[in-house]
């Protein structure tokens, strides 16, 4: 496997060695903006020589909705629904990041029950998001069935969300000062049921996909992103951990009482190839689902009675100041740089989308690889274009 890979890297493209009249034609291949495996409206321009990709240049911006400009015109509360649309697979986490940034700047204290509920929903959404990532990655590799299985499980999570806030994708549930509603009756039982159900399912995915020989051959040793490269390009989240860097904001700078929970940070160990290959990034996500299950169980145990919403005026007014606040999203660190001049809307809100930074490593890694490897790499970076383009 490895030998072949290096051979086609080195012997095919020696400039001047192959007579120019029999050299194969280089093609410029336009992958996207409508392509099944670019996960949205990403456009990648590939320079290819046969199946070999010499260069990949991503073009983004097809989903730019001026979220940062909009933020300057609306109030803090009004901006929460816009955060849902950033990383539309992890609306809860986006809400949480924005709410935390505003609360920290305004000095708002959140009640304990709301804190735990936030953790529960953030982690449930992490599970949902990772299930989508896992299933779609199977789809990218040509295995259709894991995709359906993962979406089946995700449905249960969405049902849980629907029960509590009525929405299945754009929740706006975690608001400034707490959460919007308390749990309905019997919700905790259903949640526990789901957690019991999910555990064996993960073993099923591993049997079906993770340890499939073809899958390992397609993803192991492919798209290797060493730790220093990952850090240099600002990769965060499971992409960074897949490269073997043990870095998780929930441990490093705990927010929302994450320090009270007992969980591990899974990192890529190069089990099926090199540290930082596509398989590592994929498998970190699978493991993180398990860790999220652990966190939710603990949070459900700790859940106390009490209010779910702090006393916050309807029109939130923040003092003048600035803050840069990051939370650990399923795709990495989502940052909000919030500048307030006093008043009900931000002076400037800069959003750091984790997918944006994760994608920036693509041209570096997708060089001299095969066409199918670009798909493998894109899938393992797990980008959401809503967040890249904002």
């Amino acid at each position: 496997m490895k030998e072949i890979e290096f051979q086609y890297q080195s012997d095919l493209h020696q400039e001047g060695e192959i007579p120019s009249d029999i050299r194969t034609e280089e093609l410029t291949l336009n992958m996207g903006p409508q392509h099944p495996s670019t996960h949205g409206v990403l456009r990648v321009v590939l320079q290819t020589d046969g199946e070999l990709v010499l260069q990949a240049t991503p073009y983004v911006g097809y989903l730019h909705r001026c979220a940062e400009k909009i933020a300057e015109k609306v109030t803090y509360r009004q901006f929460t629904p816009y955060t849902d649309r950033l990383d539309y697979l992890a609306g809860m986490n986006n809400n949480l990041g924005f709410a935390l940034a505003v609360e920290k700047l305004g000095g708002i204290e959140v009640p304990a029950r709301a804190e735990y509920l936030r953790v529960i929903f953030a982690e449930l959404n992490r599970i949902a998001s990772h299930l989508v990532a896992t299933g779609c990655y199977g789809l990218d590799m040509g295995a259709f069935t894991p995709f359906v299985y993962c979406f089946r499980e995700r449905e249960y999570v969405l049902d849980l969300f629907e029960a509590v806030c009525g929405a299945r994708l754009t929740y706006s549930y975690i608001t400034i000062g707490g959460v919007r509603e308390d749990l309905p009756d019997g919700w905790i039982g259903r949640c526990r049921e789901f957690l019991d159900y999910l555990g064996p399912k993960i073993a099923e995915y591993n049997n079906l996909l993770s340890y499939n020989h073809i899958f390992i051959n397609r993803t192991g040793n492919v798209g290797v992103c060493p730790p220093d490269l990952a850090l240099a390009y600002g990769l965060t989240g499971s992409c960074l951990r897949g490269s073997g860097v043990k870095w998780d904001l929930r441990k490093a700078t705990p927010y929302c009482r994450y320090n009270e929970f007992d969980f591990d940070i899974p990192v890529g160990r190069g089990e099926k190839g090199t540290v930082g290959d596509c398989w590592d990034r994929y498998f970190v996500r699978i493991q993180e689902i398990g860790q999220s299950v652990r966190i939710i169980r603990q949070a459900l145990d700790k859940l106390t009675e009490g209010p779910t919403q702090a006393k916050v005026p309807r029109a939130v007014k923040l003092p003048a100041g600035e803050i840069y606040y990051e939370v650990e999203n399923p795709r990495g660190q989502l940052g909000f740089y919030l500048v307030s001049e006093g008043g009900t809307s931000p002076y400037r809100l800069k959003i750091r989308g984790p997918s944006f930074c994760n994608l920036s490593v693509l041209p570096v890694v997708a060089r001299n690889c095969l066409l199918a490897d670009v798909t493998a790499l894109l899938g393992s970076l797990d980008i959401v274009m809503g967040e890249v383009d904002r």
């Binding site: 051979q7 029999i22 194969t24």
Partner: protein, 177 residues
């Protein structure tokens, strides 16, 4: 009557395709015309009762050689097509050579019709007969052909090998033989 009709059905495409190969300037079209011709000729073989030959013609020439040909043609640059037009001197040469060949062919056909008796050809139609004659009477030529093919294969492998030593990250220098 019916046989004549079917003969025309196969022979006409073969001739048309042969002419089209010469006249076409698009190299991929040429390849597909060639395939048409090969299939038509295979049809003629079927008509003559040489089923084995016809099937092998399709299997080897159409399924193997022609597909590889198209494959190679598709990979080469599209700008190559204008170069295929021969210059005036080349045209002259080619015309001379083809004319001489055609003359010889026509003459031999004419002679065959007028003068000679048809040679008694041993009927070897079934695969078993062909096998027996290949491994019996014609074993020498058969083996010679196989050696020739082997040499051709080795030559192809030699030509296709990388001209520069492959830089192997593992340290071992492989590649150039």
């Amino acid at each position: 009557m019916l046989e004549r009709l079917i003969f025309v059905l196969f022979a006409l495409p073969a001739v048309v395709a042969g002419v089209a190969i010469l006249l076409s300037t698009n190299i991929v079209r040429m390849a597909f015309w060639l395939i048409t011709m090969l299939i038509s000729v295979a049809g003629l073989y079927f008509l003559m009762g040489a089923y084995f030959l016809g099937v092998v013609q399709i299997l080897v020439y159409v399924g193997g050689v022609a597909v590889l040909l198209v494959f190679g043609v598709m990979l080469t640059s599209r700008q190559l097509a204008p170069k295929l037009r021969p210059g005036p001197v080349e045209t002259l040469w080619l015309a001379t050579v083809s004319a001489i060949l055609l003359l010889g062919l026509v003459l031999s056909i004419l002679r065959a019709h007028t003068g000679m008796e048809p040679l008694p050809v041993p009927v070897a139609n079934s695969p078993a007969d062909i096998g027996h004659s290949l491994m019996g009477d014609f074993l020498g030529p058969f083996e010679l052909a196989s050696v020739l093919l082997l040499v051709a294969m080795l030559g192809a492998a030699y030509l296709a090998r990388p001209k520069v030593p492959v830089q192997n990250p593992q340290g071992s220098k492989g590649g150039a033989v």
